[in-house]
């Protein structure tokens, strides 16, 4: 009752609002999407800004090895344990300084699980966002060209994508990762990325652009016959200008929505590759290789600390749990964010 007056005032001014303001007001009402957005900001800040801070306060890094963080059976230290920091010497005296492991250690090597979670988040987010950007870039360009120029380009494009999309992308990524991976593994842009990230971005991005391209093509096919394109052409706008100024803004919103899904999918694909032994190599962390560490390297049963293996090494189920939760929540947040943005952009959702 109290808000009735305000709501009326708001609906009265609605006619005059820009589409952006309208989008924002709808998006704000979607609590699920808003929570996801806030959560994602939290994760990104936590991983990228939080890691150096945490390293500074804890006094060790995500790739540092603490042999004494695992007991004699290779069972890692539990959460919130103070681990002897003997600097590689396997002897502990009461005077040995201790260092805090917030989520415990990750296995026989005794990496800090918490710091690896943050560092792995960096890697996984970089791969997800990078691959999505690449996929969207290729997809939008190809989709615009195929939809706008039509004829031969369109036929070739449609037939090829239909065909290529029938293939399991995982096999392509593995094969391509194998062929370009070795050459790109050492390209880290002066340490901005860990080894292999750029290769994975390329491999995943090069095979994820088919869906966005089809999406854009379908929209452009409908748009190019409309009056505003005709009008632009009549006043002498070049094809490039029409594409950039008149068509691109129309497809931008759906591309953004799809982009969040590509990010989610790429993060998941990285994890799958890691579990199949094709991901980021140790010692660098990614959520995928953290999950796979105790999941058991499936193709080599009983490999490193395999949960199913017969190496006699007991694996802690907590170790793959943290990155699994992080992966789950992040991907869920990206998917919900995309859904929220889509709903807020879709004028049909409003009346329901």
């Amino acid at each position: 009752m109290r808000f009735a007056g305000r709501r009326q005032a708001r609906s009265a001014e609605r006619g005059a609002r820009s589409s952006r303001a309208l989008f924002w007001s709808r998006f704000k009402r979607d609590r699920l999407a808003l929570t996801s957005a806030i959560f994602l900001v939290f994760v990104i800040v936590g991983c990228f800004a939080g890691l150096p801070v945490a390293e500074h306060f804890l006094g060790h890094g995500p790739n540092d090895i603490f042999p004494l963080a695992a007991d004699i059976n290779g069972y890692p230290a539990g959460p919130w344990s103070h681990v002897p920091n003997s600097h590689g010497v396997p002897v502990v005296t009461p005077e040995t300084p201790r260092t805090l492991f917030i989520l415990g250690a990750d296995g026989q090597l005794g990496h800090d699980e918490f710091l690896r979670l943050l560092a792995g988040g960096q890697t996984s987010l970089e791969i997800g966002v990078g691959a999505a950007l690449l996929a969207i870039l290729i997809g939008v360009t190809v989709g615009l060209l195929a939809g706008y120029y039509g004829r031969v380009i369109d036929t070739v494009f449609s037939r090829t994508t239909e065909f290529v999309m029938g293939f399991p992308i995982l096999l392509f990524v593995i094969a391509l990762g194998r062929s370009i991976g070795d050459r790109f593994a050492d390209v880290t842009l002066h340490g901005a990325f860990v080894h292999g990230v750029l290769a994975l971005i390329l491999a995943i991005g090069l095979f994820s652009w088919f869906y966005p391209a089809r999406l854009v093509r379908a929209q452009v096919l409908a748009l190019r016959e409309q009056e505003f394109v005709e009008a632009a052409r009549m006043v002498g706008a070049s094809n490039f200008r029409i594409l950039r100024k008149h068509l691109l803004p129309h497809v931008a919103s759906s591309v953004i929505v799809y982009g969040t899904l590509v990010i989610a999918g790429s993060i998941l694909l990285e994890a799958a590759l890691a579990i199949l032994n094709f991901g980021i190599d140790l010692p660098d962390a990614s959520w995928g290789n953290m999950i796979s560490l105790n999941y058991g390297t499936l193709l080599v049963p009983g490999g490193v600390a395999g949960a199913t293996g017969s190496t006699g090494i007991r694996a802690s189920w907590l170790v793959p749990l943290w990155p699994s939760i992080a992966l789950l929540l992040t991907v869920l947040a990206f998917a919900l964010l995309g859904e929220g943005v889509r709903a807020a952009l879709d004028p049909r959702e409003q009346r329901r």
């Binding site: 239909e162 080599v300 919900l336």
Partner: protein, 347 residues
């Protein structure tokens, strides 16, 4: 009509061989040592360079890629066979062995997916923007976010090791198989593994793979059917049906659901790639020995080499499946929706 089918098949054939050519061409880019497929390589191996070269020569990997490709094509055209892989195993045999698990996962998984997705989508569409809709959305997005590997392990742990409801992963044939004879005086632990078969144990073994497959695709299909249903709910033919006094169930099932399910047919054709990716995951988790494990085993080896003829054969089989499936989808679509015409009036 026949001309249309023939034209589609011919263009499919061209794509098929183009694709295998690309497979062979990409292979040139990969720095590898084909001899390592046969002989031990890497750390601790004492294989000499000459031995590796001899091995590469024996499997024909030292010839130019064009020759190898021509040989691959010739074998298919002349003998209808893929020949031996570099490891010396018959490719035909391994592919024939891996087809039943893969087809079972795909077909059964798809049925389970529809059984889950349609009711959920109906529930969601009828209560659009209310709590139930949101719950279904959240539940189905959960499926997307939970990695199939993690999901598979969770399901396996819960249902196999804790509840003992389903047997541990292994493929059971649909048909009953004759038991393998056990030689006399064999200790039980050395007895050959008996093959399991029969429809009941087949289904029993496949429940978890099907469920994993279905949950993997659930979000996409639920959302799609929901959106289509929301669109058709306001359509004039639905209003007319209501006005005529058709019961709500009848309106929903035959007037709303049927047109909403039409694009599903197209989606099945397009999603084959994603489905095969899911099959790779599921194969790996449940150890079914299907196409996924075959492909990953052909690509993955400790020394970083891969079995080119086997990979090319796998891609070839998948390509055949895509061409045939897409053709079937288009034919099906024309049959289901009489407004669609495959052959234009001019043709």
């Amino acid at each position: 009509m026949v001309a249309y089918i023939v034209r589609r098949l011919l263009s499919g054939l061209a794509l098929l061989f183009a694709l295998t050519l690309v497979t062979f061409a990409i292979y040139r880019l990969i720095p590898n040592n084909p001899g390592c497929v046969v002989l031990p390589c890497g750390l601790g191996a004492t294989t000499t360079h000459a031995q590796l070269e001899a091995a590469a020569h024996r499997i024909g990997a030292d010839r130019p890629v064009t020759t190898q490709y021509a040989k691959f094509v010739w074998r298919i055209l002349r003998h209808g066979s893929f020949g031996p892989s570099w490891r010396g195993v018959s490719i035909d045999k391994s592919i024939r062995a891996s087809l039943p698990p893969t087809v079972s996962v795909l077909a059964g998984g798809f049925v389970v997916l529809l059984l889950l997705a349609i009711p959920l989508a109906m529930l969601s569409a009828l209560h659009a923007q209310r709590t139930i809709d949101r719950a279904v959305l959240a539940f189905s997005l959960f499926g997307i976010a939970l990695h199939p590997f993690v999901l598979g392990v969770l399901l396996e742990h819960a249902f196999v090791y804790h509840l003992h409801l389903f047997p541990a992963g292994r493929y059971c044939h649909l048909a009953h198989l004759p038991p393998v004879p056990v030689p006399p005086n064999t200790l039980p632990q050395y007895a050959p593994e008996q093959p399991c078969g029969g429809p009941v144990s087949w289904a029993h073994h496949m429940v978890l793979p099907w469920l994993t497959f279905a949950i993997f695709f659930l979000p996409l299909y639920t959302r799609m059917i929901r959106t289509r249903m929301l669109e058709t709910l306001d359509d004039q033919h639905v209003v007319t049906a209501r006005a005529k006094g058709a019961s709500e169930v009848r309106v929903l099932l035959s007037h709303v659901l049927r047109p909403a399910l039409l694009p599903l047919v197209t989606m099945i054709g397009l999603d084959l790639g994603a489905a095969l990716t899911a099959v790779i995951y599921i194969d790996t988790i449940y150890g079914l020995g299907g196409f996924g494990s075959l492909a990953v085993a052909a690509l993955a080896s400790a020394t970083g080499t891969y079995d080119l003829p086997l990979i090319a054969a796998i891609f070839f089989v998948i390509a055949v499946a895509i061409v045939v499936l897409n053709l079937l989808v288009d034919l099906c679509y024309a049959w289901l929706d009489p407004r669609v015409r495959l052959v234009g009036p001019a043709a």
